[in-house]
Amino acid sequence: MARTATTTDAFSAVAEGSRREILDALGAEEATVSDLVERLELTQPQISKHLAVLRTVGLVTVRADGRHRWYRIDGAALQPMYEWISGFEATWNARLDKLDEVLVELQQKEKQP
């Protein structure tokens, strides 16, 4: 599956490790750039650059509150990514649920004299 340039595609945007860290940090609560500088091992310019990419692809939104700018995750934008993984997960669940049943039988067999 070919992906387009980093700045236009949510999938590619999260492929970058630092951006995933930022999303993780924003997952719990909204934060300012200085909050993120404090929490992550990234400089202020790095964080600002990554936030700009995340905003471009719609994964992060911002609101102004006086002198502060608060960043937060946009859950709706994460949905396609969640669905992408969950299809794969469903396939594995179908397989491993069946394994569950086989394991129960194998254990019953083992307990028989």
């Binding site: 299809g87 396939t91 069946k98 129960v104 254990q107």
Partner: protein
């Protein structure tokens, strides 16, 4: 013995620890040795590997370092899905490392490390698969999507014909 069907259905968790990896974690109410054997014994693999999506038509396992494996299922849609590879490490009941090739895309080899950690008869299975690139990793995830399997196989083939 009372009800024995464990209530863990649908509890597998898939995460992407790095750009080239997929991690699948699932807990089973069975000792590690039994889970390990379920992954390494042809007659048992035959019974579960297709899930409810088809029938396993082949489950070859030569369980020794350098030994080959080949598992084939016929999906409910009628098409065949074949995976094969080689065992690299075998440490019953803790760990198996094997290479994995999806035979429609024979040039792409993943390395899967399966671990089985038991605590009080409950086993946590982890499968960490590492792909040659993020594109192949992503294509693998896409190929597991419900209903989209055939389309995804075509994508995967395209990807291999036109390497970026």
């Amino acid at each position: 013995m009372t009800s024995t069907i464990p209530d863990r259905h649908g509890s597998a968790v898939v995460t992407l620890p790095s750009d080239e990896e997929i991690l699948i974690v699932r807990v089973f109410d069975a000792p590690a040795a039994i889970v390990f054997d379920a992954w390494t014994t042809p007659e048992i693999v035959q019974r579960w590997w297709a899930g409810d999506r088809g029938e396993v038509t082949e489950a070859q396992i030569d369980l020794r370092v350098g030994g080959r494996w080949r598992w084939v299922m016929t999906a409910n849609g009628g098409f065949e899905v074949a995976f094969s590879g080689e065992y690299r490490e075998i440490d019953r009941p803790h760990r198996v490392v094997r290479t994995e090739v999806f035979e429609l895309v024979p040039d792409v080899e993943a390395v899967s490390t399966m671990t089985f950690e038991e605590s009080d008869g409950v086993t946590t299975m982890k499968i960490l698969s590492r792909y040659p690139s993020r594109e192949y990793r992503d294509a693998t995830i896409a190929s597991g999507m419900e209903g989209g399997l055939q389309t995804s196989l075509n994508h995967l083939e395209e990807l291999v014909r036109q390497p970026s």
